[in-house]
């Protein structure tokens, strides 16, 4: 034990306090570990010496700020960290992954894709080609509807209990909807893409849902300028299903709506609508149709 370690208790007969030079060397961090410990043992019990330690108030406040920031910072989930890793700014990652309505949409996508996978597994066991064609048609019909359903589940008073609280913020309206729609679309396309190879059919046909999917989402977003999201998604999805079935029946080819001529139409729709949506949509006026 060295000289500074002999700090007597404050209640003792002759109260001992840190000499100024020792306090100065402590504050500057120039004491060896043993001396530091003794000084700190004294400081713990002596308010006068604590107050006498020269301290940078600004530095101290900032330190506390940093400590508090670490203590009650919300824990980032796997998805949030993944998005941040991919270069998405932290506030956007948080916005996307913390949105309960969105996580419901994601869960829905996963469930739908699992159902497809099971169906696909079953389909390969069908001996009759009609059964396989049926599964493939159902997949092609439903895959583009998946993201529109997800978008419908992600925004608006009807589906989001926190909507009223959020509706008065500057992000509310098209900006938030577009952000959530993009998140849903990317997830749905990724998941559907993962299960597509397991489906029975030529590769070209198995991938024939991609352009309709983009086209449908673009159409739903465009329609939200006139009606709320849920009726927009329901209307577009119903039109799509009807068009596929009617056109298939009329052309006497179940997959007519997925052949190259029709694909060109979806490509044009998506190519025309998506850039317009991405650049202009933020400025859409959504007040009446939430």
């Amino acid at each position: 034990m060295n000289d500074t370690g002999a700090a007597p208790r404050p209640s003792g007969p002759a109260p001992w306090h840190l000499p100024a030079d020792l306090a100065g060397r402590y504050a500057a961090g120039r004491l060896d570990p043993a001396q530091t410990m003794s000084v700190e043992a004294h400081l713990e019990r002596c308010a006068r010496c604590r107050a006498a330690i020269p301290a940078d108030a600004g530095w101290l406040a900032a330190s506390w700020e940093r400590v508090a920031d670490i203590v009650d910072r919300p824990r980032a989930g796997v998805a949030e960290r993944l998005l941040c890793r991919c270069g998405v700014p932290q506030h956007l990652a948080r916005l996307l992954t913390a949105t309960p309505a969105l996580s419901r949409a994601w869960l829905g996508s996963v469930a739908a894709v699992l159902a497809f996978a099971v169906l696909a597994g079953l389909a390969s066991t069908f001996a009759v080609p009609v059964g396989r064609a049926g599964v493939l048609l159902a997949f092609l019909l439903l895959a583009p509807i998946l993201p529109t359903a997800g978008i419908a589940a992600a925004y608006g008073t009807r589906v989001d209990p926190g909507h009223e609280l959020q509706a008065a913020t500057p992000m509310a309206g098209p900006r938030l909807l577009l952000l959530r729609a993009l998140a849903v679309q990317v997830t749905a396309v990724t998941l559907t893409g993962l299960c597509a190879p397991f489906l029975p059919g030529p590769p070209g046909l198995v991938a024939a849902w991609v352009l309709p999917s983009l086209g449908l989402t673009a159409a739903v977003l465009a329609l939200t300028r006139l009606v709320p999201v849920q009726p927009a998604a329901a209307g577009i999805s119903a039109c799509w299903a009807a068009a596929v079935l009617v056109y298939g029946g009329w052309a006497d080819d179940l997959f007519a709506a997925f052949r190259p001529p029709a694909q060109a139409l979806y490509a044009i729709t998506a190519l025309v609508l998506l850039p317009v949506l991405l650049t202009r949509y933020r400025r859409a006026d959504h007040w009446r149709y939430r």
Binding site: L165, Q166, A168
Partner: protein, 288 residues
């Protein structure tokens, strides 16, 4: 009021839900300070405040808030940057912690820098005395704590305009006092609009009071002015009044009656509540 001081201007505002008229050509003007909205259930207070908070589009009429017109998209976004809003029925995400909920709203308010945003979240939680509950899940908070949490998010970014729909519901007396102290401090320089059923809140807190009835503003003035409308119509008597007039037994065992003087009664000092009750009695009579 000097027109340049008007931060809230509403003219002939109408809103219908189907065939039900919630706002019938309502007019309102208010400046900085605390303005209280009183009115019976279904009077249209929430509808009015939702229109002002830009979460509901009115059918007709004009709104100017901080000189901005919410009907215009760009001005509406600008307005949203400068207002704080406490809905009557704030939906919560029960599995969020208190901190996460406020942080989430802060992101929607475009506070993108994480460090600064978190410091602001801690500040507003401390303002409503919830600092030690930051890590508690919303579903584990009591009703009054949830109300304070919803109030906390309105303070984010220190907005110039606060729209509070029944902010004192569920608060215990100590928290109610704390709320009054905070709001009256905010009322210096900022505009606070709050609705309430608590006439004591209005008397204690508001420099202006607007009574809403049947979708219209039926009284605009000071709380003292509202109380004064009941002058000469508030009575105290030893026995219950005989007529059909409104009366109730007070804590000291006497009967307080409104309207015509009951036999043997002596006049009492009118309060905000008396003025409010008589005013609505009158409107009800007019409407009938």
């Amino acid at each position: 009021m000097n027109p340049t001081d008007t931060t809230v201007g509403v003219r002939a505002l109408t809103k219908r839900y189907g065939s039900r008229t919630a706002l019938a050509a309502l007019d309102l003007a208010a400046g900085p300070g605390v303005t209280g909205l009183l009115g019976p259930n279904g009077a249209g207070k929430t509808t009015l405040l939702r229109c002002l908070a830009t979460t509901l589009a009115p059918d007709g009429g004009e709104i100017r808030l901080l000189g901005l017109d919410p009907a215009d998209r760009a001005q509406r976004t600008e307005l949203r940057r400068r207002l704080g809003y406490l809905p009557q029925d704030p939906g919560f995400y029960p599995h969020f912690t208190a901190f996460e909920l406020v942080d989430y709203i802060a992101i929607l308010k475009e506070m993108n820098d994480r460090r600064a945003r978190h410091a602001e979240v801690r500040r507003v939680l401390a303002e409503v005395d919830l600092a030690d509950r930051a890590a508690t899940k919303v579903r584990k908070l009591s009703g009054g704590m949830k109300q304070r949490l919803a109030f906390a998010q309105t303070l984010l970014g220190d907005p110039e305009l606060l729209i509070l729909d029944e902010p004192t519901v569920g608060l215990d007396p100590e928290q109610r006092m704390r709320f009054r102290a905070l709001v009256s401090r905010l009322g210096e320089g900022r505009t606070v609009l709050l609705s309430t059923h608590q006439t004591e809140d209005v008397a204690a807190l508001c420099e202006r009071v607007v009574v809403v009835g049947g979708g219209r503003a039926v009284f605009t003035g000071t709380p003292a002015g509202l109380a004064a409308t009941a002058a000469g119509q508030v009575w105290l008597s030893e026995r219950p009044p005989a007529g059909r007039q409104l009366f109730w037994r007070t804590a000291d065992g006497r009967y307080r009656a409104l309207g015509e003087r009951p036999e043997g009664a002596e006049p009492a000092v009118p309060g905000v509540e008396d003025g409010y009750l008589l005013l609505l009695g009158d409107t009800a009579a007019v409407a009938a």
